[in-house]
């Protein structure tokens, strides 16, 4: 039996995937495949109606994820996934909506859209595959590249302070904020499930190994070494202050940091709508 056929017939997640497009393009040991797996498992466990699911992605390695999911999906321009998803969400509130993209896409070129969607509390689940660099273009410095680490555009070591994404998301107003690594498959799946069931702007950062592009410039000779490193440096601290949730080469604090309730944009809009319609009725009757 051909590999693709076996995959299509037997793999439990195959029904959520465009199997004809497999194997995927990601490198050996890349965490993106794991994120895709955890996402499909969350869909499976929640029994999400896939006909009503929309996944939006931006540009970059993880951006290709939209094209692997057998659902309505949009692979947008660089950085604009959240802005485009905002249009989808407001136009059809009955859809399940997730944005899955990378650190460069969501926080460099798309940073403005991220903070504003979080501020408005638009109902969407945003999953960021944070691989510390621009993988697709060959490994350049990004907004999350750890200080002093090496990329093709920081050949002498990075002198830019990186973003702490969970702190940024929490400060911008996200109602759910979590960070995991690609190693924490069970907890990540649980987080995705939680986020998909919750209303509002939800953010999950997944620290994802990029052995081929980032790893080999930073003393990781093999994919497995990056995963071992993630295991060694990650520390679970639920409810920890996201501003203090360290993410460096030495330590990565993971866990659920924010889980609060706040009216969404759509809920507030619905209230205004009812008020306006009442006024119009009165006006028309009078």
């Amino acid at each position: 039996m051909k590999a693709v056929q076996e995959f299509e017939m037997h793999h439990p997640m195959a029904k959520y995937l465009r199997t004809e497009r497999f194997p995927h393009i990601w490198c050996e040991g890349c965490g993106n495949g794991i994120i895709l797996g955890c996402f499909t498992r969350a869909l499976d466990e929640l029994k999400i109606n896939i006909d009503k699911l929309v996944v939006v992605s931006g540009i970059g390695c993880i951006g290709r994820i939209a094209g692997y999911l057998r659902c309505d999906s949009f692979h947008t321009t660089h950085g604009r996934a959240i802005a485009l998803a905002t249009g989808i969400r407001l136009a059809n509130p009955n859809l399940t909506l997730a944005v899955i993209s990378g650190d460069g896409d969501l926080f460099s070129i798309g940073g403005n859209h991220f903070i504003h969607a979080a501020r408005r509390n638009i109902d969407m689940t945003v999953i960021c595959s944070n691989n510390f660099n621009y993988g697709m273009t060959g490994g350049q410095l990004g907004p999350t590249t750890p200080l002093h680490s090496y990329t093709t555009t920081s050949p002498y070591g990075n002198i830019e302070h990186p973003f702490n994404l969970v702190h940024l998301a929490a400060a911008a107003g996200a109602v759910y904020v979590a960070r995991w690594t690609a190693l924490h498959v069970q907890r990540l799946t649980a987080s995705i499930k939680k986020a998909l069931q919750k209303k509002g702007f939800k953010f999950i950062e997944v620290v994802s190994p990029c052995p081929e592009i980032f790893g080999r410039r930073n003393n990781f000779k093999k994919a497995i070494e990056m995963m071992r490193w993630l295991k060694d440096v990650s520390e679970i601290r639920h409810g920890y202050d996201p501003s203090k949730a360290e993410i460096t080469m030495e330590k990565i604090v993971v866990g659920e940091f924010v889980d609060v309730e706040k009216p969404t944009y759509e809920e507030l809009l619905q209230k205004k709508y009812i008020k306006v319609q009442e006024k119009l009725r009165e006006k028309n009757a009078g």
Binding site: H75, R80, A85, L90
Partner: protein
């Protein structure tokens, strides 16, 4: 249920920007995303007030990049969507205008043009974004752009923009200017049943048989909305008829780009609208659009009074450029006069179509529209 205030049938004194908003609502637009910018802000303000009345969405985005992205998203979610801006915002939108063209997303972008380049003259009218409308985003694709010359046309042509956009699955532009946008004139809004509204062509086959980017004979593929169960993948990458990325196949790229252009070019005669004034026996033709066509009417009439056989071709459709019509007129007349509120843009297209016939260009910059006498003078000299 929403209270019926969708179409404000009747006679109104209205500002151009407001008429545009009302036209959008009459056309079935139920999603507006925008960012404040002079002289287009009044459209957003009107939409903010009106969308909620008609059960639609108004959302103020963080910038024009986001506004354009949001209307693409809304359109795929099945709602007619529009944004409105001026030059600086139009520049920011170009990235996702390209995405809309590539993904064949019906959507309407209103550009109330002002003096440019850069921040330019926020409150002054201009026609400096006409070439940008067609060539603004990278790559080959054809668009549709209409140029209103009155407040009534701000209403009528906005509806037309939606109809064309839905028919051809293409980003469609209303290219007005700060003058028309801010002008107050009488607008007649017809009853709802008299307004022609085009509905999106949906797939006639079940999901398992649907090929999302396989065109019909008109070169336009039927469009399934997100949530309809068709599970469509949409990408800005070069894609095959299934919508899947195929970036290494020259044939796929050629076929796709060719169709993006040809679906407009092959249907150009159906799309193009022009208005003629005294052209039948004309020896000199003024070719103008939008604000510049208003003074041209007076100039042509004045020329006729002076015994010069002048006529006016007003381009309601700027893109696709009415090349054939201009060529025919060029064959008939001795000279062509083109007034534009810029330093020479659409005149290049006119020159190309006119071939041997001399074309006299009248640039206008600064904010004051052409005066009829300025155009008349050029007409007079052109036939000497």
């Amino acid at each position: 249920m929403t209270e019926q205030r969708t179409v404000l049938t009747g006679k109104h004194l209205m500002q151009g920007d407001m008429a545009c908003a009302e036209g959008a609502i009459a056309a079935g637009c139920r999603f507006f995303a925008g960012y404040p910018i002079t002289p287009a802000t009044e459209i957003a303000e009107r939409m903010a007030r009106r969308m909620i009345e008609v059960g639609g969405i108004y959302v103020q985005m963080e910038d024009e990049l986001a506004s354009m992205a949001a209307i693409i998203g809304a359109s795929w979610a099945g709602v007619k969507a529009m944004t409105a801006t001026s030059g600086p915002g139009f520049s920011l939108m170009q990235e996702n205008i390209g995405l809309a063209a590539m993904t064949e997303t019906p959507c309407v972008v209103v550009n109330i043009m002002r003096g440019s380049p850069s921040t330019g003259q926020p409150t002054e009218p201009g026609q400096q974004d006409v070439m940008q409308a067609q060539w603004g985003s990278h790559g080959d694709y054809d668009v549709i752009a209409l140029a209103p010359a009155s407040v009534q046309e701000m209403f009528d042509l906005t509806i037309e923009c939606f109809n064309l956009s839905e028919t051809y699955r293409v980003p469609t532009f209303l290219l007005a200017d700060g003058f028309i946008g801010h002008l107050w004139e009488r607008v007649i809004i017809p009853p709802l049943e008299e307004i022609k509204v085009v509905k999106r062509k949906k797939p006639k086959v079940p999901p398992e048989k649907y090929i999302p980017f396989k065109p019909d004979d008109d070169l336009v593929p039927p469009m399934a909305n997100f949530g309809d169960g068709y599970r469509v993948h949409v990408t800005g990458l070069t894609h095959d008829e299934h919508g899947y990325p195929r970036t290494d196949d020259p044939e796929v790229q050629f076929k796709l780009v060719q169709r993006l252009c040809e679906k407009i070019r092959k249907n150009a005669e159906k799309i193009i609208k022009i208005k003629e004034l005294m052209l039948e026996d004309a020896e000199v033709a003024v070719i103008a659009y939008g604000i510049a066509s208003r003074a041209s009417i007076s100039a042509v009439k004045k020329a006729r009074e002076a015994g010069i056989k002048a006529g006016l071709l007003r381009l309601v459709t700027v893109w696709p450029f009415p090349e054939k019509i201009v060529s025919e007129i060029a064959n008939q007349v001795k000279a062509i006069v083109v007034p534009e509120m810029n330093y020479g843009q659409l005149v290049r297209e006119v020159e190309r179509a006119a071939k041997e016939t001399p074309v006299h260009f009248i640039p206008k910059l600064g904010g004051e529209p052409h005066k009829p006498d300025e155009i008349f003078e050029v007409i007079r000299r052109a036939v000497k």
